[in-house]
Structure formats: C-alpha cells, structure tokens
C-alpha cells in the first residue's frame, strides 16, 4: 500500500505502486493526461508523488523503450523537411519533460551506444544539460564546472551589437561594441541562437606571457596599435529626457532658451548649444554642465508669495544639463508626446569609449582581467613570422583555475584563422584537440602552438617559446570612464555640512571608523584632525552661560541672547556635526553648556 500525494497533498493509496506509476507515464505519453504531469515513486518510503504544479524546472529527454530510443531516423528526416515539429514529438510521447523528482526514477544515457536494458531515457544532446549562455563556452567539457559558469556569467556582461535597430532606439545607459565579430571557435549554440546577428566580441591574437609585471594579478596588456585599429572600441549612449509638465492654474513648463531674468539662470555660455526651440543641435560637442534641453517652469507657491515678493511671477530655470563627469556628442533627438499628451523631448548623447587602463576584458572561460598597460606596437613582443599579439595574457591565471578550454580555444582559433574556417568547439561534441594539432602542423606551425618570440624593446630572442593563438575576446561593461571618481573639495550635505556621498553627487570618499582607528593607533593626532576638518565651523560661545552666542557681522559685534553684550564671547572651532548634536540635545530639552579654558 503506497501512499499517493498529488501536488504534496495526500489523495489516497495504491496497491501496486510501480505499476501505477508506469501506467500514469504511459497515459502521459499517449496524451490522455496532461504532459505537464510528473510522477515520482520513492521506493524506500513507498510513496508516490504526482506533481502538476507550476514552477518546476523540467527538461526534455528522448524516451527509450526496450533499449531502443523512440526517436528514429525517420523522425529526423521528417524534422529536416519541416513535416513535423518539436511539439509533435512531445505529443507522440517520443520526447518527454522530466522534473527533478522524476529524474530520480530515470536512468539517462548520454549517447545511443551507451544504452543498457536499465536505461529509460536518452539525452537529446549532452549540451542540453547547459543553459543558453553556458553552451556558448567552447570546449566547456575540459573545465571545472565553476569556470564554465563564470565564463557564461562574463559573457552576459559583454558589450556587443545588442540590437540592430539601435540607431532609432532610446535605450537607457547602453554600450555598443564597434566592429563586433563572429567567434572563430564556436559551438552549435552560436548557430542556434543566431549569434552572428548580435555578436559581442572580437577575434584577436593572444600571447601567453608576462610583460614587465604589468599583467600580474589577472591584468592583461593591450597592443596600442590594435586599440587604434579599433579593438575594444565602443560607444556609450545616455539619453537626457525632459517633458513639459502641466501645473494647476493652466501653467505649463516651457522648453526654450531661458530668459536672463529667470530664477536660477546659469550663464550664457551654458546655453550656447541650444537652438531657438531650446534643444541642442545634433552633433554638438557637449561637456559637463552644458545644457542639453533648455526649460523653464512656472514659479512655485504662486499664491502665497505674490503679495510680498517683487520677483514673484518670474519663472524658474529647470533645464536638463550634462551630469558631472559626462561628455559626448549629441547623437539623436526625439520630439514626441507622452501618455498624458505632454510634449516630451529626448536627447541621446553618445560618447566614444576607447579601451584604457582599467577597462575589463575577458575570454569566454571566466578568465576576466583588467587592462594593466597599453603598449606601443614597437615595444610589443613579436614572433619570427612578425606576428604581434593584440593582447598579452598572464600564464599565472592558468594553473590555479585549470581552464584548459582557454588553451584549446587559442589553438583552435589559430587553426581557424590560418585555415580560414570556423572551428566547432561545442561542449562534449567538439573537433578533437589532436585533429587541430595535426592541422596546425600541416599549416607549418609547431603543433603545440608555441612560437619563438622576440623581446619588443631589446630585440633579443626570448628564451622561452611563447604560446600564441587566436581567441574571441569580450569587452565587459565595467568601464573606468563610468566609474572613475576623485574629489578634493566639493558639495556638502545641507544638514550636516559633511561631504555628499557617491560618484553621481561628486561625493567624498569616507574615512570610516576603522580607518580613523589606524590614525589613532599611529598617534597621528593632528593629521586625524585635519582629515575630519571637512565640516569644521567656527562658533561663538558665551563664556558666561556656555551657550552658542550670536555674531553680528553687519554691526560688527557679538552678543549672547541670554547674557547680553557685556560678556566674554570667544570663537571656538568644532565640527559642524557636533554643533548639530548640541542643537539636537536642545530639542530633547537637555541643556548643554560649554566651559571654555585656554588650550595653552
């Protein structure tokens, strides 16, 4: 008597569980019950689980009966001629989807030749165990699973031709790789997914060697000439948007060049790129602070201010300008309306990103690294045949990570480039390494891929033979230009007068609690004080009552609001944050007094 659970709820029991389960499966295959059903029999505890709920990950497998896979040559021919489709195979019970639980009852063969009487299913292809991006890693079966995973994750961050109609799109914050190429070493997934329609990298010559220590800790060296020829060059698009909002009282924003009497008028120079309609002209070279869309808004609090303020009634400036640290060329302008019928202006700014030190590059094997140095072509090492690598990759990245696929791709890429053909690097189904080596030999190269190299600076022959090959390299979206940040002086917060936080606000880099401790531990007392001077203020204190006094700069006198004028009032230097906490104490009803004494 096995208990049966349907979607984790007890529904009854059966006498002959194996028979029940196999009948259920049979019904599913002939289509009399839903194909979304999975059933799992746990022999140990004698319970049957039937699942039809959503949210189970399932994968397709070919059904095997009496050591024969149900998928035959006939089906394949029909598929080729487009007479039947995938869903027909599922309907006919030739292919079925198993969930994680039912897989426990199944024995799956990788290849047809492996099938034994125990096998219940056949893998469609071993590649089916990977997802889309993991199958894009060539020779993945030569790697640790973690590296394949890392490689597929890296590819998701690569810049490429993300969409072929990019020129008419208004995407937020996108990058576009110039001269993107098809990989020489590819897997069948590249064909299936139409990778050639949206490639994301470039084939380059890679040498595995050290270069003066500039490629240690995963860094890579770039050839300056390659960079100038366009390797890794990309464009960064960022749109600026503005709309004419409507306010109560029939007032409306106006996109125009603001008048000089508008409140908050910047300067004539800032508006110099605007045409009469208040919008920049295309191909304008804009830099930080330049206005891209000129706009004025109606005054705030219209009714209450009118009586008192002479300037009331003047409009406010509310233009859109280039953010801190950003520059570029106005690329595309879109004039339209939004859902509410307000006029909407979008301006797309483009900025060319040439690879620079600190940009992130990766191969498809989780071997990511940052550019450590861009070397003039003249100083790059070169091979006997005169080949100068585009990129130098550090050999120290290989032993600990054991990414053999990286090395095989170099070999494969080399053969592909020399023979002028694509190399199939599909995981578990690739061109064998031996064949590639043989072909490389027949092409007149050493079969192990190494070549004699010369030192680019001295011209001496390098003692070691250098492993070179062609690889598909990807530029990742983490660009220094989008992240670089420094500050000496800059904006402060209104409340605490301490520096703002974050790159977007030109913020300071916090010297935190533990960093403070290191200053104290070194006894660098006065240096510590200077570091925290960012919010220092001078406060007059009444020495009689110890409260903050008032300094009237206009009349040139100091007085205490409690004790009057005839008291000693001394200026002290404290952090504004402390002045703030004293104010907070007052709001708590706590009276605090400062007792001053001479420091010396």
């Amino acid at each position: 008597m096995a208990e049966v659970y349907l979607n984790s709820k007890f529904v009854g029991s059966v006498d002959d569980a194996p028979n029940f389960v196999s009948r259920l499966r049979e019904e599913r295959r002939i289509g009399s019950i839903t194909a979304n059903l999975n059933v799992y029999y746990n022999e140990k505890i004698d319970e049957v689980y039937v699942e039809t709920s959503k949210g189970r990950a399932r994968r397709p497998l070919i059904v095997v009966k009496d050591m024969q896979p149900l998928l035959t040559e006939k089906h394949l021919k029909q598929l080729e001629k487009n007479e039947i489709s995938w869903s027909d195979l599922v309907k006919q019970g030739i292919i079925e989807y198993l969930d994680a639980a039912e897989e426990e009852n199944a024995l799956v063969a990788f290849f047809e030749k492996d099938i034994t009487p125990e096998h219940t299913h056949l893998e469609i292809t071993p590649l089916a165990m990977f997802g889309l991006t993991s199958s894009l890693v060539p020779y993945g079966n030569f790697n640790q699973s973690t590296r394949v995973n890392a490689g597929s994750k890296n590819q998701k961050q690569a810049l490429g031709l993300y969409s072929s109609n990019f020129a008419v799109r208004m995407d937020m914050d996108v990058n576009l790789l110039h001269y993107s190429q098809n990989p020489i070493v590819k897997s069948i997934m590249h064909d299936i997914s139409n990778y050639s329609k949206h490639p994301a990298g470039q084939n380059i010559v890679v040498a595995v060697m050290s270069y003066k220590g500039y490629n240690m800790e995963d860094a890579v060296i770039l050839n300056k000439a390659s960079v100038e020829r366009g390797f890794g060059r990309s464009t960064y698009f960022r749109p600026c948007t503005s709309e004419e909002l409507r306010y109560s009282g029939g007032l409306i924003d106006q996109i125009c060049i603001p008048d000089k009497d508008v409140k908050g008028y910047k300067s004539e120079r800032d508006y110099r790129f605007l045409e009469e309609d208040g919008i920049v002209y295309p191909e304008a070279q804009v830099a930080e602070g330049d206005v891209v869309i000129g706009k004025t808004s109606p005054p705030r609090f219209l009714s209450s201010l009118e009586e008192y303020n002479l300037a009331a009634g003047t409009r406010r400036e509310s233009s859109v300008n280039m953010k801190h640290g950003e520059q570029g060329v106005v690329d595309f302008i879109l004039l339209t309306e939004n859902e509410e019928g307000n006029r909407l202006v979008q301006v797309r700014v483009r900025d060319e990103r040439v690879p620079e030190i600190g940009d992130k590059f990766t191969s498809r094997h989780g071997q990511k690294g940052v550019v450590g140095l861009i070397v003039p072509e003249a100083d790059m090492p070169f091979s006997v045949s005169g080949i100068i690598p585009d990129l130098i990759f550090s050999p120290h990245g290989i032993p600990s990570r054991m990414t053999i696929s990286h090395l095989i791709e170099m070999l494969g890429g080399k053969v592909g480039a020399l023979a002028g053909r694509y190399i199939n690097g599909t995981t578990f189904d690739a061109e064998p390494e031996e064949k590639i080596r043989e072909e490389l030999k027949s092409l007149g190269f050493r079969e192990n891929g190494v070549e004699t190299f010369y030192n680019g600076i001295t011209g001496e022959v390098l003692e070691a033979k250098i492993f070179v090959g062609n690889m598909y390299y990807l530029k990742l979206k983490h660009l220094v230009a989008n992240k670089i940040h420094s500050r000496a002086r800059g904006p402060v917060q209104l409340l605490t007068r301490q520096p703002t936080e974050g790159r977007a606000k030109e913020g300071g880099l916090r010297l935190g609690e533990m960093e403070k401790d290191t200053f104290v531990a070194h006894g660098a007392s006065l240096l510590l004080k200077e570091r925290f001077d960012s919010d220092k203020t001078v406060v007059p204190i009444c020495e009689n009552c110890g409260l903050i006094a008032i300094k009237d700069e206009y009349k040139g006198k100091k007085y205490c609001s409690v004790c009057g004028e005839n008291v000693e009032i001394t200026d002290i230097e404290i952090s504004y944050a402390f002045k703030l906490i004293l104010d907070e104490f007052k709001s708590l009803g706590i009276n605090q007094r400062l007792q001053l004494k001479s420091k010396y």
Binding site: K516, D517, T518, V520, A521, H522, G523, A524, S525, L526, L527, L528, K529, F532, D533, D535, K536, E573, I574, S575, A577, F578, I581, F585, L588, I590, N591, Q592, Q595, K599, Y600
Partner: protein, 378 residues
Amino acid sequence: MDNIFAEYEDKLPVKIIEDIKNNIPKGIAQNKLRKILELVLEEYENAKVHPGEAVGLVSAESIGEPGTQMTLNTFHFAGVAEMNVTLGLPRIIEILDGRETPDTPAMEIYLKAPYSGGKDIREFALSLKETKLSNIADEFSISLINSEIEIKLNKEKMKAHSLTTPKVAAIIAKQIKGLNIRESEELIILKSRAKEESLNEIYKAKEKIKDVHIKGVKGISQVLPIKRNDEYVIITSGSNLADVIQLEGVDPYRTTTNNIIEVQQVLGIEAARQLIINEVFKVIENQGFNVDIRHIMLVADTMCVSGKVKGITRYGVVSEKASALARASFETPIKHIINAALIGEIDQLESVVENVMLNQAVPIGTGIPQLIANFKKK
C-alpha cells in the same frame, strides 16, 4: 657583586634581576656582569611603551584582526571519548563579554599522588561525576489513588554506583523535606505528609525529586581521565571549582576551570585575570594565529581593574568610561545622554572618541606634547 645588582634595583624589575642572578655563571668578572646588566637595561628601555602610544587601540586591532578571520570557524572534537569545548570566535566573545557561565563549562583536575600516578583513576573520576536520582531510576510514576510518587530503581545502575535502596532512600529523605518514605525491593514510595495535596503539586514534587543529588560533585556531568606528561589528569565537562578543590586527592593548586566568574568567586580577581589571559591566548594559539600576549593582558586588566570581572559590553567596562559622550558613542546613546543630563555630568573631553566628535586633536601621540612659552613682560 651584590652592590652591582643594587645599582640596578630601581632601574630594572625584580623579576629580571632575579633571572640574571640565576643565569650568570659563577664567579663572573665584575666588568662582564656590568656589561650584561647594561645591555639588559638597554633592551628593557627599548621595550618600554612610548608615552602617548595608543596601547588600547593597538591591542584592539591586534586581537580584532585575527578575529575577523576566525569567524565562526568553530572546531569540534569528533568521537565519543573526547570532550566538546567551545573554541574559536564564540569562545573569545564569551570570555570578553564576561558571561556568567560559559557555553561549555569544563575543568582540568590535577591530582595528588598516588592518584596522579594512575591509582584507581577510573573510580576516582567516576566518583566526581554527578549522579542524580533520574540517572539510577527507571521510572517515576504517580499513583493517583494514593497520591503517591513511585520511583522504580535500576538495580544494575545502582550496583555500578555501589548504592542500595535504603541508602538512596536515606539520601532522598535528607534532601527532600515533608515526605514520608517507604521502600520495598526496587521501589521507593513517597507520600506527602500534608493531608490534601493537589495533583499539580505532586507533579511538581516529582520533577524536583528527579534532580535529587545522589553522588559525586554537583555540576560535573562528564569525566574523562587522560594521561598528560606522565601524570593522570581528569578533564570534565561541567564545572564546580569550589567543591572539587576541597576533595581529598585533588591538587588544589593546579586544578582549573574555564569559568572565569567562578574563579573570581573562589580564588579572587587576580586568578580571574590570569584565567582570562590563559583562555584567550589558548584559543588564539589553537587557531594558529600569533597575537602578542601583552595585548591580551591589557584586555584582561581592563576587565578586572574594578575588582570584579566586567565584560567589554555596554553594561561592563564601557559603562565605566568617564566621558558621557564616549559612552553615548557606543550603543544606546540616548540612554547615556539623558542620564548624563539628569545629573549634570561634565565631560572633560580627555579621551579619544569625544575629541574626534568635536574635531579636536585627540590626546594621543602627536596630540599630547604642548608648547609652553613664558612671555616676559616688558
């Protein structure tokens, strides 16, 4: 000879002078001895902490840095015979917090001859182990009709502890008052002397009787004799220093526990200080880190200065800080500010945290020396 040493008496600590005395060869020439002492003095002066050195912070960083690497890397002994003792970061936190009872109290009991040589070591160890009534009884039941409690004893277990039913009954009678005791074969029957007793109270009495202490030392739940350097030592889980050191055959001078508060109560604050140092150092060493023992000594000193062990918590040493602002900067600020306001505390701004808050030079290192100029009036 002695007059040379006398010269250095107030320059060097007694301990160092003693060490030199014990280690110099006999009949050493006077100028050689003087040279030795001179070199020792130089080394001693070099080893001194400079004025204004941020000793506490350096200690905190020196202990804290390996602490970050230890994170919950608790190491457990596997196997039946070994004792399970909290180690690693949880143990350090436990010690520095000054907890009343450690997570896994344990003792190391050193023995006097002949036990230290291994005589009757197993029996001796077993005699320490606390035996409760529930350990030797099979069943506790309440007979509803007679409102009695029946205890069924296990013969074999009794035998192992060399007990008899009358003996057990006598022990119970001694510890539990207000009950009449009858005994028969393997049964002990207890009945309340009070006439009317509710079932609830009988049940409570039953639970209480389960914990009746029969034999051994209270609190010692496991014993394990081991051989350490030609000597037998008993390690226990559970701790009761006060009772154990009074036992015949136990060496009270070397017997230790890992319960710091207990040591403070039994042996005093100086012993507790030493125990803190030993225990923290043991953990750090065990994890393969290298922290100078003087950092730990400083921590132990701060915990013990008040004469009672105080943890490094907001209730412990932090609450002892002189500055209200410094206390407020460490957990529950509002509580400290309000209490300071109630009694009108004056903050002298003499320590580091307050001065950082005010953006003043902290009185440490370069913040200490000050220039005093004497202007002469014309």
